[in-house]
C-alpha cells in the first residue's frame, strides 16, 4: 500500500513541473505576438466599430462599405484576382512539382534552384521586371509591333491580367513546394503498379497521382489565395491607378484620406475573406480525413 503510494507520486509531481515549462519557453514569442499582433488586431476591430468624432460605437463604416459601390467592387476584384492566382499557380506549379518529386537526375537540382530563384529577388524588383516586359512600350509589345503582328500595343499592363501574372510569379515557389511535398508522399510503386496494369503516363497521372495529391492541391490553392489577397506591391505597381484591390484601398484610406476606421473595415473584410477560404480548405481536408477513419473504423 505504502510502496504503491510512493510509486504514484513522482510521475504526478513530474507532470506538474513539466506543465509550466512550455509556457516559460513560449513566453518570449507569446509576448511578441500579443504586443505586435493581438493588440493591433484588437485595436483594428475596435476602430472599425467606432465613430470618428464622438468615439461612440457605430456601424456606419460598415454601412458605407456595403453601399458606396467602390468598396464592394474592390472586395470582389480581390477575390477574383486571388482565385485566378490560386488556379494559375497550382496549374503551372503542378508539372514542376511532379518533376521535382520524382526526378532523380541532376536536372532536379537545376529545376529546384530555378523554381525557388524568384524568392531571391525582392517583390518590388520582380514586379518592375514584369512592368518592363508587359508595358505598352515593353518587351512583348515592342516585339509584336516590330514584327507587324499588331498595329497598336496590346493591353498587357495596368490591368487584372498583369497583376495575376506578377502575383503568380511571386507565389509560384510556395505552390510548388506544397505540391511537391504532397506528391513525394505518394508511393512511387503505385505509379509503377498502374503502369504494369496498362495505364499510360497520362492515365497514371489522372487516375493515381492527381487524386492522391488533392491535399497538396488544396493547400497550394490556399497558400496562393491568401498570399495574393494580402499582396500590396504587385497590384499597386502592375495594376495601375485604376486597378484597386482591398490591400491598395486600405493603403489609400490610411495614407491619403487618413480614414483609419474605414481602412479597418476594409481590413476586416480582407481578413474575413481569407478566414472563410481557409475554413473551407481546412474543413475539406478534415472531412476527407474523417471519411477515411470512419470507413476504417467499420472493420473492427
Amino acid at each position: 500500500m505504502n510502496s504503491l503510494a510512493l510509486d504514484l507520486h513522482p510521475p504526478a509531481r513530474r507532470r506538474r513541473t513539466l506543465s509550466w515549462f512550455p509556457f516559460a519557453a513560449l513566453s518570449p514569442s507569446l509576448l511578441v505576438l500579443s504586443v505586435f499582433f493581438a493588440l493591433p488586431m484588437g485595436m483594428m476591430i475596435g476602430m472599425s466599430f467606432t465613430q470618428t468624432e464622438t468615439f461612440s460605437p457605430t456601424l456606419e463604416h460598415y454601412q458605407r462599405f456595403f453601399t458606396d459601390g467602390l468598396s464592394l467592387a474592390g472586395f470582389c476584384r480581390t477575390a477574383l484576382m486571388s482565385l485566378l492566382v490560386a488556379v494559375s499557380v497550382t496549374v503551372l506549379g503542378y508539372p514542376v512539382a511532379y518533376f521535382l518529386a520524382r526526378s532523380t537526375t541532376r536536372w532536379r537540382a537545376v529545376v529546384f534552384a530555378l523554381a525557388l530563384a524568384p524568392e531571391l529577388a525582392g517583390v518590388v524588383l520582380r514586379t518592375y521586371g514584369w512592368l518592363i516586359i508587359l508595358e505598352d512600350r515593353g518587351f512583348i509589345n515592342d516585339l509584336l509591333l516590330q514584327l507587324g503582328v499588331i498595329s497598336s500595343p496590346l493591353p498587357l499592363s495596368k490591368n487584372l491580367f498583369a497583376v495575376v501574372v506578377g502575383l503568380t510569379h511571386v507565389v509560384l515557389p510556395f505552390g510548388i513546394l506544397s505540391l511537391m511535398t504532397s506528391i513525394q508522399g505518394i508511393d512511387p510503386n503505385l505509379e509503377r503498379a498502374a503502369q504494369m496494369l496498362g495505364a499510360s503516363r497520362l492515365a497514371v497521372i489522372r487516375t493515381i497521382v492527381l487524386p492522391l495529391s488533392v491535399p497538396g492541391i488544396v493547400s497550394s490553392m490556399l497558400i496562393a489565395f491568401t498570399m495574393a489577397a494580402s499582396a500590396y506591391a504587385t497590384p499597386a505597381l502592375l495594376g495601375g491607378a485604376g486597378f484597386k484591390v482591398l490591400a491598395t484601398m486600405i493603403y489609400e484610406q490610411v495614407l491619403f484620406y487618413i480614414d483609419w476606421p474605414f481602412a479597418s473595415v476594409m481590413a476586416m473584410a480582407l481578413l474575413l475573406m481569407m478566414l472563410a477560404i481557409s475554413f473551407v480548405g481546412v474543413r475539406y481536408e478534415s472531412r476527407r480525413r474523417s471519411r477515411a477513419s470512419v470507413s476504417s473504423g467499420g472493420e473492427r
Partner: protein, 360 residues
Amino acid sequence: MNALDIELVSVSKSYAGMAVVKDIDLAIPQGEFVSILGPSGCGKTTTLNMIAGFTAPSHGDIRIKGRSQVRVPPERRNIGLVFQNYALFPHMTVTENVAFGLKMKGVRRNEAETTVKSALRSVHLEGMGERYPRELSGGQQQRVALARAIAPRPSVLLLDEPLSNLDLKLREAMRIELKEIQQQLGMTFVYVTHDQEEAMAMSDRVVVMWQGAIAQEGQPAALYREPNSRFVADFIGKSNILSVTSTATQAANLELAVGDGLILKAHKIELTAEIRYCSIRPESIAVLPPGAGGSGFANLLNATVRRVVNLGAAFEIDADLGSDVRLHVLLRATRASVPPKVGDAIHLGIDDADIQPLSA
C-alpha cells in the same frame, strides 16, 4: 505447349560502369513457376525490373512470346507485377483496384465485373469488394494485390518478394495457396526472393543468382542434391562444406582428402576442374551405434560428439572427426532413437553418393 514465355538473351546491366547483372541467359517455358533466388544485391531485382520494363538492359535482348521487348514500355508488355509492399491504390476500393487493369484495357463493364468477381474468388476475398485497402490485414492486402495482377490475364506474372511482409504462419500458408493459384491459372510465374525455403517449396525451377550472374539453375530437388558450387550448397539448405586438399581417382570412387589425412570416398565423376570443396548434407549422415558393422556405407568414420542440440523433430549433433574436421549431423528424433551424449564416441556412415565434390 512448350512455347517460351520469357527469354533473356545475354542480358547485362551496368550502372556507371558497375556491372549489376552479367550476361544472363534464361528461357522460361509457358506455365512454369520459376524462382529467381539470391541474397540481396545479387541482381535479382534488377533482372525483374528489366523483365517488367522499368529498367532497360545495357546489353542483350528480352523477349516475351518470341518478341523483343527492349523498346516496349511497361504498360504494353502485358505482364503482371505483385509488389513487396503490395502498392494497392489507397483511394480505390478492392473492386476498383482489381478492375483497374481491365478498365485500362477497355474491357466492357459487365465483362469486367465477372472477371473481378472470379479474381476475388480465386484469392478467397469474396464479399470484400467494397472495402478500402487500409481496412484489410496484411495477408488480405497481399491477396488483393495478387487478384489485381491476375485479373487482366497477363501472359506472365512477376512477384517481387510478395510474402516477405507477412508473418511466418501466414507466409507458409500463402506459399501453398500461391502455388495452387498458379496451377489453376496455368500462368507463368517469375518469383523473386531471397528466401530459399520459399523458392524450394513452390518452384518448378529455381534460378540461383550470385554477384550478378546465374550460379545454378534447376529443379529444387536437383539443386539441393547436386549443388555445383560452394555458394549454392551453402545458400540452399544447410550443408557441411569441407576443403579438399587433394583428389585421387580409384577404380570405383573418387577419393577426396579433407583435413589432415582424412579420406572421403565420393561417386566417381568426370573431372573437368580441380575439386576444391565437398558438400555433405547433415541429414545424409547416419549415426551408427558403436560396434555396428560396415552396413554398406562407403565411408565409415569415427567421431567424438562435441555438442547435441535438441531441435524437437531432430537432434543436431556436432561431431569431431579429428584432423580438424567437424561435421554437423542431423539425427531424426524417433521413439527408438537415443541421441548420443557429449563426449561419446560414435560411428558416422556416409554414402558415396551423398558427398558432392565442388570445384568452386
